[in-house]
């Protein structure tokens, strides 16, 4: 599997993704500068975390008009796997590849902490090696992770299995206490209808090496191999 990691001005998690894919999974991986207009031959595209364009206007709002985006949209429409992490998720939403909106955290604070997640859909290329009965601990680091969609949109997500990750408390329940940012239905990550585009706010690339505190993010990359 060849991975491509898109780098926008202000992306800062691209090197973490690169390092994990190269060193932990020994896969070929390259970065793709946002000004390119075509994708190199890759099997998976990752939009990493960070502060593309300084989050100016709205997080991801300006990145969505970067020259590389039409090629990414085309890749996604043809069924290519696209993974958006944190700012990457925000960019996918602004680009219309995923529905809904990501708003300012309910508590108005930048959150830098571990969260527990439960996996709701093992049918995507990113989650097929995951388990629906395990809890996953991953870190979040965001100010605008509050996922919002209206009730009609939420019902559609639920009916079509597009809710992929939910925040849970230490007892494994989806509760207000376990929800760090006020996301509707405790949503931490969703996929598109076809399941080939996944966006999530937590950082799986930060939990792939036990020396850094955990390996609960590994299954996402393992699923793709």
């Amino acid at each position: 599997m060849k991975f491509g990691i898109v780098v926008f001005p202000g992306s800062n998690c691209d090197q973490d993704c690169l390092s994990v894919i190269q060193n932990v999974f020994q896969c070929p991986v390259q970065t793709i500068w946002h000004k390119e207009t075509t994708l190199p031959h890759v099997d998976v595209v990752i939009l990493p975390g960070g502060f593309s364009y300084g989050d100016y206007l709205r997080p991801g709002a300006i990145a969505k008009v970067s020259p590389i985006m039409p090629a990414i949209v085309s890749f996604a429409n043809k069924g290519g796997p696209v993974l958006g992490i944190c700012n990457g998720f925000q960019i996918l939403i602004e680009a219309g590849l995923l529905p809904g909106a990501l708003m300012r955290n309910k508590g108005l604070k930048f959150l830098c902490q571990d969260v527990f997640l439960r996996l709701m859909n093992t049918g995507t290329p990113f989650t097929r090696k995951g388990s629906r009965t395990s809890g996953y601990a991953m870190p979040i680091a965001h100010m605008e992770g509050n996922y919002f969609i209206d009730s009609v949109g939420l019902k559609r997500l639920q009916d079509k299995g597009q809710v992929v990750f939910q925040y849970i408390d230490s007892q494994g329940r989806v509760t207000d206490l376990g929800n760090p940012n006020g996301s509707v239905f405790g949503i931490a990550g969703i996929c598109n209808e076809k399941g080939n585009v996944l966006g999530l706010m937590p950082h799986p690339e930060r939990v792939c090496e036990s020396v850094l505190g955990g390996v609960d993010g590994k299954f996402i990359f393992e699923s793709l191999l």
């Binding site: 602004e94 809904g100 909106a101 708003m103 300012r104 969609i149």
Partner: protein, 79 residues
């Protein structure tokens, strides 16, 4: 021509920031203030052959970039 553009959250979208601003307003003693909505304001200078063309351009700019139409509405006037 100058377009004055206002972008606001749609009614029903929770804005904790506006709520925090309202609380601060009340802390300062402005008890008559009942609600505050926070939005964005843009000024756009453009050259267009007609007002209709300018209107169309600004509307498209709002829909494609300045407003997130999932959660925001916009209105503008062109002078």
């Amino acid at each position: 021509m100058k377009a004055k553009i206002f972008v606001n959250y749609k009614p029903g979208v929770l804005d904790p920031e506006a709520k925090a601003i309202l609380q601060a307003t009340h802390s300062l003693g402005f008890s008559l203030v009942q609600s505050i909505n926070k939005g964005k304001y843009f000024e756009v200078e453009l050259q267009a052959p007609t007002l209709d063309v300018a209107n169309d351009q600004i509307k498209e700019l709002c829909e494609k970039l300045l407003a997130n139409t999932v959660i925001e509405t916009f209105n503008f006037e062109i002078l």
